[in-house]
């Protein structure tokens, strides 16, 4: 009587404890699918082609990551404000979503080393007469809510002490408002600005210059405690640069001078 009970107890105990050690990296590999949060109204990083398939730098980057892991990629369309809820509720494994690696956010999610870097440009409605960043003072300006440039621009408007800042929920709404003249100017990443002006969907706007904000380094992100996966992501970003794939993707989607992903004078 006693021995079967003991044996059963041991069996139950081992069954309960051992699989709990699997971390997210294991889960992704064993499930065979990598689910990436990608923002798809943010060309050229993420958008949809004519037949509604996701395309863009971030989409290719996710596919590369899945290939390295030996699994299939699943692109989960995630608007900017929903990146974190999507991760926390377990709908996605990794964010490949042009996410600025601020210290404030790193309290909540785990960031990889930077995989891309943006410079900021000013795009203005031609009627506003704005020709440079400083001429935005006192005007109605806006940006996509929750982005690096929105936070910086809002702080700048406060520092100027005049004018108005408006955050819109999507990049498309910002350019629509700009094209209609509801906004006089916006600050966005220069890649996005050029891509949107080029589409011709937003008449009457032009990129007029650079914005003197810091370079916006963006990182892949996942759950903060998933060191195994973060470690893998860091090495993956490194390998993308080393193998020339980063330069290849940059040429394909953006073109021009390749942004440096390292910061001079400091590690990481």
């Amino acid at each position: 009587m006693r021995i079967p009970v003991l044996a059963f107890g041991l069996l139950a105990a081992t069954a309960l404890t051992s699989p709990a050690q699997a971390d997210k990296l294991d889960d992704i590999i064993s499930s065979g699918t990598l689910r990436c949060a990608v923002v798809l109204d943010f060309p050229p990083m993420g958008s949809r082609d004519d037949s509604n398939n996701p395309i863009g730098f971030d989409v290719d980057y996710c596919n590369d990551l899945a290939k390295a892991l030996g699994v299939t990629a699943e692109i989960v369309e995630t608007p900017f404000p929903e990146r974190i809820p999507a991760l926390m509720s377990g709908r996605v494994d990794v964010g490949v979503a042009s996410t600025s690696d601020t210290l404030e956010r790193a309290k909540t999610v785990g960031m990889s080393i930077p995989y891309f870097a943006f410079e900021m440009a000013v795009t203005a409605n031609e009627k506003s007469g704005i020709k440079s960043f400083d001429e935005m003072k006192g005007k109605v300006v806006g940006a996509t809510a929750g982005t690096f440039e929105a936070i910086a621009l809002e702080a700048q408007v406060k520092a100027w002490g005049e004018g108005e800042f408006r955050p819109y929920q999507t990049q498309a709404d910002v350019f629509l408002a700009l094209s209609q003249g509801q906004l006089d100017a916006t600050v966005s990443t220069s890649t996005v600005a050029q891509a949107n002006v080029k589409t011709g969907k937003f008449p009457g706007i032009a990129v007029v210059g650079k914005a003197p904000f810091d370079v916006d380094y963006v990182a892949l992100f996942t759950n903060r405690e998933e060191y195994g996966l973060i470690n893998y992501l860091n090495l993956f970003v490194n390998q993308q640069v080393r193998t020339g794939r980063y330069a290849e993707l940059y040429e394909k989607w953006v073109g021009g001078e390749l942004p440096d992903l390292s910061v001079k004078g400091v590690y990481r």
Partner: protein, 221 residues
């Protein structure tokens, strides 16, 4: 699987900022209600006027306001009018959208209330020598407002909750706008949204209770 550690401290530190936003929310809701009531009154009079153009106008307004999403109405007030060069600020667009919606629903409330008042009362008034406008003003309208009062408080609660749609047109000073911004900055989604939900609940509940207390004092038989 829900893997998240709550940082309530951070959310509570932003509470004063969120309460400032709640005031803006309440302000928009009250203004939209005032404008909505005035418009609904006019729409009701248009319907009663017997003039085909006026009652047609009222019917279209009510149909559109009641049968399309409030989000669409607010979006149209900002980007739709923007297309024609009419630029409403986010605040004005949000207010206009909600007031439009309120007017449509309140006009229906008034219509229901009118149905509850027997025609004979207005006729009795006419037979005492009142004009039809006087009969409406002194006999029908007071009863109509009394019957419509509690359903209208429902619309007030709805107006408070609808203000949260302002974020789609770039509103950043109301409770939803401030919450979104705090969230974008820190990624502490669940804390800030939970706190915002509690604030919305408290405002809505306070409005309902105040309206009920007001009604029980004002409408004693």
């Amino acid at each position: 699987m829900f893997n998240y550690t709550f940082h309530w401290n951070q959310a509570l530190r932003a509470l004063p900022q969120m309460l400032d936003g709640a005031l803006v929310t309440l302000e928009i809701a009250l203004l939209s209600m005032a404008i909505g009531l005035a418009c609904a009154m006019v729409l009701t009079l248009f319907r009663l006027s017997g003039n085909r153009v006026l009652s047609g106008f009222a019917a279209v307004w009510v149909e559109v306001a009641r049968n399309t999403p409030a989000l669409f109405q607010i979006y149209m007030a900002h980007f739709g009018l923007g297309n024609f060069g009419i630029h409403l600020s986010p605040y004005a667009a949000l207010l206009a959208g909600i007031a439009f919606n309120n007017a449509g629903y309140l006009a229906e409330n008034f219509r229901g209330a009118l149905k509850a008042i027997p025609d004979t009362q207005a006729r009795a008034g006419r037979s005492l020598g009142m004009s039809s406008l006087q009969a409406f003003r002194y006999i029908v309208m007071p009863q109509m407002l009394r019957i419509a009062f509690l359903p209208a408080t429902n619309q007030m609660v709805w107006a408070i909750l609808m203000t949260s749609l302002g974020v789609t047109v770039g509103m950043n000073t109301d409770l939803a706008g401030i919450t979104q911004e705090l969230n974008a900055r820190s990624f502490r989604t669940f804390e800030f949204f939970a706190l915002a939900a509690v604030i919305y609940y408290v405002i809505a509940k306070a409005v309902t209770l105040a309206a009920r207390a007001f009604a029980s004092r004002m409408f004693r038989y």
